[in-house]
C-alpha cells in the first residue's frame, strides 16, 4: 500500500516537474531553432524548424504537444543530435548510471567504515585522521580530485587509463544492460570487465569522495551520539564484547541518518557528474544534459530533467523503505496515524 501510494505521488511530482522544467527551459536565452540550423541559415529555414517543433506557438500549446508525445513514450527530437531524445538517453544513461553505481559503492564501502572507526577510536589520532580526511573530502570539489587523480595515476604513474569507458582495441560487449562491467561479466569477458573497471576507478572515486566524506562524518557523529545512551551503557554493563555492541546495538540506529542521506546522494551523483565526465571524456548523461543546455536543445533538457527527477524520486522511495525496515518506530507511528 505504501509503495502504491508513493508511486502515485511520484506521478504527480514528475508531472509538476515536467511543467516547471518546460517553462524554465523556454526562458533560456537564445533561439533554439537558430542554434540548430546554424548562424548563416536563412530566416525561412529557421522559421520552418520553429513551426515543425511548435516553437512558434504559445507555451501551453507547446506543452500540450510535448506532453501528448511523452504519454506515447516520445520525448521529442533533439535538435542537436537529430535523434529522438529517448534514444539518446538510452545511449548515454547507462554510462553515467554505471559510474554512479561505482561511486555509490565506493562511498558506502569507505565512508561508513571510516565513520565507524572514527567513532570507535574517538578523540585519538585515528579519529583525528578520519575527521581530517572527511573534512578534506567535503570541502574539495570532485573535479579537483579528478584532475589530481589523473595527474598522479595517469600522467606520472601511468597505471590507470585517462579517459573513456574502454581502451582502444577492445570491443564493447553486446549491449544487455548497457553497463559494460555487468555485460562483460554476463558474457564471461574478463579482459573487458577488468579494463572497464580500470576506467571506472578514477571517475567513480572522484565522484564518490564528497558523499564518502559526508557519510563518514554523519556515521561518526551519529554513533558517537548513541554511545552515551542508556541502553548502550546497559549492554556494556553485561560485559558484552565491544565489537558485538558496535555492530548489533549501535550501528543499526546510527545508520538511519546515513541511509536517508545516501538516497539523496545517488541522485546528486547523477546530476553532478558533468565535470567529472568532461575531465575523463566519459560519454554520459550529465554531459549530454549540459550540452543540451548550451545548445538550447529544449526537448533534450526536458527529457534529462524528467529522468533525473524520476531517479531522485525512486531512490527516495527505496530509502524510505529501508529506513522503515531499520527503524520500527517509524512504521508504528504510521500505523497509529492511520
Amino acid at each position: 500500500m505504501f509503495i502504491i501510494k508513493r508511486l502515485g505521488y511520484l506521478v504527480f511530482v514528475l508531472w509538476g516537474l515536467s511543467i516547471l522544467i518546460f517553462v524554465i527551459s523556454r526562458a533560456i536565452p537564445g533561439d533554439p531553432a537558430r542554434m540548430a540550423v546554424g548562424p548563416k541559415a536563412s530566416e525561412e529555414v529557421v522559421q520552418r524548424l520553429r513551426i515543425a517543433m511548435h516553437y512558434d506557438k504559445a507555451i501551453y500549446v507547446q506543452y500540450y504537444y510535448w506532453f501528448e508525445d511523452m504519454l506515447h513514450g516520445d520525448l521529442g527530437l533533439s535538435i542537436v543530435t537529430k535523434h529522438p531524445v529517448l534514444e539518446d538517453i538510452r545511449q548515454v544513461f547507462p554510462a553515467t548510471f554505471e559510474l554512479a553505481i561505482f561511486a555509490f559503492i565506493f562511498l558506502i564501502l569507505v565512508g561508513i567504515p571510516m565513520g565507524i572507526i572514527s567513532a570507535r577510536y574517538n578523540n585519538t589520532w585515528v579519529d583525528n585522521l578520519g575527521r581530517l580526511l572527511s573534512y578534506l573530502g567535503v570541502v574539495t570539489p570532485p573535479y579537483v580530485f579528478a584532475i589530481m587523480g589523473m595527474l598522479i595515476f595517469c600522467y606520472i604513474l601511468k597505471v590507470l587509463p585517462a579517459m573513456g569507458r574502454l581502451s582502444p582495441g577492445l570491443i564493447y560487449p553486446p549491449k544487455i544492460t548497457g553497463l559494460i562491467t555487468i555485460d562483460a561479466l554476463i558474457q564471461g569477458n574478463f579482459i573487458v570487465f577488468v579494463d572497464a573497471l580500470k576506467h571506472l576507478i578514477l571517475p567513480a572515486v572522484s565522484l564518490g569522495l564528497l558523499g564518502m566524506a559526508t557519510d563518514a562524518r554523519i556515521t561518526r557523529s551519529s554513533i558517537y551520539d548513541n554511545m552515551g545512551k542508556d541502553y548502550i551503557v546497559a549492554v556494556q554493563s553485561y560485559g558484552i564484547p565491544e565489537r558485538v555492541i558496535m555492530f548489533r546495538d549501535l550501528l543499526k540506529p546510527s545508520i538511519i541518518a546515513v541511509v536517508s542521506m545516501i538516497g539523496l546522494e545517488f541522485g546528486s551523483i547523477l546530476s553532478h557528474a558533468f565535470l567529472v565526465e568532461l575531465i575523463f571524456n566519459w560519454p554520459g548523461f550529465a554531459r549530454y544534459g549540459m550540452t543540451a543546455v548550451m545548445y538550447t536543445d529544449l526537448n533534450a533538457i526536458s527529457g534529462v530533467v524528467l529522468i533525473l527527477g524520476a531517479v531522485f524520486a525512486i531512490s527516495n522511495i527505496i530509502v524510505d523503505l529501508i529506513v522503515d525496515f531499520l527503524d520500527p518506530r517509524i512504521h508504528l507511528i504510521k500505523e497509529r496515524s492511520e
Binding site: 536565452p29 542537436v80 579528478a146 597505471v159 585517462a162 573513456g164 582502444p168 579494463d195 575531465i279
Partner: protein, 538 residues
C-alpha cells in the same frame, strides 16, 4: 595460517595487481588522434563548426579542392567547363570512385547532394542558396550547375560541397519529416552513419566519446602512406590533453586551446606548437545604429584609441589586421588604410562628434562571450576608451545569449569582440558580412544597412574574372574602412600542439590548403610509429 585481516589485505593487493597488470591491448600502429569539442555533426549538409567539418573532410569528397596556392584542382571532378556567360558550370566526374558501401559515385549523387543541401538550408547551404538554380545530370559522369546569376567565386566555394550516397540516404529517409515528400531527408541516419566516399570511413562512433575512422582501402587516390586510423576524441579538458600527449595517446589538438594550455603541452618532449596564419580575424563589432556609435567620429575615435600592439600580444603569432579581409585570403587589399594607436587623433575625432560633451548620457556597453581572449580584448578596449574620456562597461554573456541579442538593432550591444574566417579562399564571405541580408547574426552586428554597399557587394560577387572581381573588392574594402563599423584587431593564427617527433604534418611546413578545415585532412599526414615507440621507451 593467515588471519582474517591479512586475508582481506591479500585479496585487495591481488585485485590491485590484476587491475594494473592486465594490459596488452593493441592499437593501430599508425593512428592520428585529435581532440575535438562535442557535438560532432557529421552530416555534410549540417556541419558548419570546425569539429563537424574536420570529420566531413575526411569522410566525404568534394568535386574540386584547392592546392596550397589557392588554385582549384581536380578531385571527384577530373575536369570542368565554364560557359562564356558564366551561368553554366559543367563537371566531368572520374569514373570508378566508390562510396564506402561499394556503390559507384555518379552524377546522380552530385545532383542529389546539392538538392538535399539547398532544401535543408543548413550548414554551408547559404553559400549556394539563391545562386544555383538547378543541377542537371547529363550522363552518368557529367553534371551541370545552372546559375541564376553569375557567381564569381563559385569554383572556390566547391571544396566545401561534399557528395553523399544518394541510394543509401534514400533508403534511410524517415517519414513524415519537415521536408515534405523527402521526409527528414535522411538527417537522422546521416548524423550517425557514413554515406561518403572519403579517404576515411567510420569504424566506431560513440557519441560524446569518440569518432573512430579507418582508412578507406578502395580510395581512388593513393593514400598508402596515410595513417591507418583517425580518431576524434570528444574533450578539450587541459589536464586530460596533457596526460594524453605525455602518454602519446594524442597526436594533435584543436585550435581552441588557451596559450597557457599550449605552453604546458609544449614542455612535453617531442611536442611542438604549430602556428600558421590562415583566414581567422579578430575584430570588435560596433553597432552603428546605436548612439553614440551611430556617429562615425565616435567609432573612429575608438579605432584610433585602441592599442593594437597589445592586442597582437594577446595571441602568440598574430599580426595586426589590415581591413576586413586577412592578407592570406585571395582578394584582400594589402594597401588599405590601417589604424594605429594615436590618442590625439582619437580626441580630435571625439571633438567632431555631435555627442561631444554629452557622452555621459550615452553609456557604451561591450559584451564578451566564448573565451578568455574576448574578455582580454574587451578589457583592453575599456581601458583605451577611458584614456579618451569614454566610459565602456564590460559585461560577460553566454554565447547563445549574445547571439540572440544580435537579432535586432535595439538589443545588439554597442560593442562585442568576435572571430570570423573565410569559408572559402576568397574575400567575398568576409565582405558579405556587411551586406544587409547578414545583419542580425552574431558575425555581423554592425547593422550598416547601406544600400550602396549592398549593391557593390552584389555586383562584385557576379564578376567571373578574378582580377576584375578583386579590384571591386578593393573598392568595397576602402568603402567599409571609411565607415569604420568595426575595429579590426588582429589576424590570429591557428595554433595547435602536435607530436612533432613522430608525425609529419604538411601545414607545419607552410603547406596550408586555404579551404575551410582542409588543414585537418588526415590523408596528407604521415605517422612514424617506430619513433613513437622510442619516445614511449624513454
Amino acid at each position: 595460517m593467515l588471519n582474517g585481516r591479512a586475508k582481506i589485505l591479500l585479496i585487495i593487493l591481488c585485485m590491485v595487481g590484476i587491475l594494473i597488470g592486465i594490459s596488452g591491448i593493441s592499437v593501430a600502429s599508425s593512428i592520428v588522434r585529435y581532440n575535438s569539442d562535442w557535438p560532432v555533426l557529421i552530416d555534410p549538409a549540417v556541419a558548419i563548426w570546425c569539429q563537424g567539418q574536420t570529420a566531413v573532410v575526411n569522410l566525404y569528397d568534394a568535386l574540386v579542392i584547392t592546392d596550397t596556392e589557392s588554385n582549384i584542382i581536380s578531385h571527384v571532378a577530373k575536369s570542368w567547363d565554364v560557359s562564356s556567360d558564366g551561368l553554366t558550370f559543367t563537371f566531368y566526374l572520374r569514373p570508378g570512385i566508390k562510396f564506402h558501401d561499394g556503390s559507384e559515385l555518379t552524377a546522380e549523387d552530385v545532383k542529389f547532394s546539392m538538392d538535399r543541401l539547398l532544401t535543408m538550408g543548413q550548414g554551408f547551404a547559404f553559400i549556394w542558396s539563391g545562386k544555383i538554380q538547378e543541377t542537371e545530370v547529363v550522363d552518368k559522369y557529367t553534371v551541370v550547375f545552372h546559375m541564376k546569376n553569375t557567381f564569381g567565386p563559385l569554383l572556390s566555394t566547391l571544396p566545401s560541397f561534399f557528395i553523399v550516397n544518394k541510394d543509401l540516404v534514400m533508403a534511410n529517409i524517415k517519414k513524415p519529416g519537415i521536408y515534405g515528400d523527402m521526409g527528414d531527408y535522411g538527417e537522422e541516419y546521416v548524423s550517425s552513419y557514413d554515406v561518403g566516399s572519403g579517404a576515411y570511413m567510420i569504424k566506431e562512433y560513440k557519441r560524446a566519446e569518440h569518432l573512430l575512422m579507418e582508412k578507406n582501402p578502395n580510395y581512388f587516390l593513393d593514400i598508402s602512406s596515410a595513417p591507418d586510423e583517425f580518431k576524434m576524441i570528444g574533450s578539450s579538458e587541459p589536464a586530460l590533453l596533457k596526460t594524453l600527449m605525455a602518454r602519446r595517446e594524442l597526436e594533435m589538438t584543436n585550435r581552441w586551446l588557451t596559450s597557457e594550455t599550449l605552453e604546458s603541452l609544449a614542455k612535453i618532449e617531442g611536442v611542438e606548437i604549430a602556428r600558421w596564419l590562415f583566414s581567422n580575424m579578430d575584430y570588435i563589432c560596433m553597432n552603428t545604429k546605436k548612439p553614440p556609435l551611430d556617429d562615425v567620429h565616435v567609432r573612429k575615435a575608438l579605432a584610433w584609441a585602441f592599442d593594437y600592439d597589445m592586442a597582437v600580444k594577446l595571441t602568440a603569432g598574430s599580426v595586426q589586421a589590415r581591413g576586413p579581409v586577412p592578407l592570406t585570403v585571395p582578394g584582400s587589399d594589402p594597401n588599405c588604410f590601417q589604424y594605429h594607436r594615436d590618442l590625439e587623433r582619437a580626441k580630435m575625432e571625439l571633438k567632431q562628434s555631435k555627442y561631444y560633451g554629452h557622452f555621459d548620457e550615452y553609456p557604451i556597453e561591450c559584451v564578451w562571450a566564448v573565451n578568455i581572449f574576448k574578455q582580454k580584448q574587451s578589457m583592453l578596449l575599456m581601458a583605451n576608451a577611458a584614456e579618451i574620456g569614454l566610459t565602456v562597461n564590460v559585461k560577460e554573456s553566454a554565447w547563445t545569449f549574445l547571439a540572440s541579442l544580435c537579432a535586432s538593432i535595439e538589443t545588439t550591444p554597442h560593442l562585442y569582440p568576435v572571430t570570423s574566417s573565410a569559408y572559402y579562399p576568397d574575400a567575398l564571405p568576409l565582405l558579405q558580412r556587411y551586406h544587409s541580408i547578414r545583419s542580425g547574426t552574431i558575425d555581423s552586428g554592425e547593422w550598416l544597412l547601406d544600400p550602396v554597399l549592398d549593391k557593390m557587394i552584389e555586383d562584385a560577387a557576379c564578376i567571373v574574372n578574378e582580377n576584375e572581381r578583386y579590384a571591386e573588392y578593393t573598392k568595397i574594402t576602402r568603402y567599409i574602412i571609411d565607415l569604420c563599423p568595426t575595429i579590426f584587431l588582429a589576424e590570429t593564427p591557428d595554433s595547435r600542439a602536435y607530436q612533432a617527433a613522430y608525425i609529419d604534418w604538411p601545414v607545419t611546413k607552410g603547406e596550408v590548403i586555404p579551404s575551410y578545415k582542409y588543414d585537418n585532412c588526415i590523408r596528407f599526414i604521415k605517422v612514424y610509429p617506430e619513433k613513437r615507440e622510442e619516445l614511449l621507451k624513454k
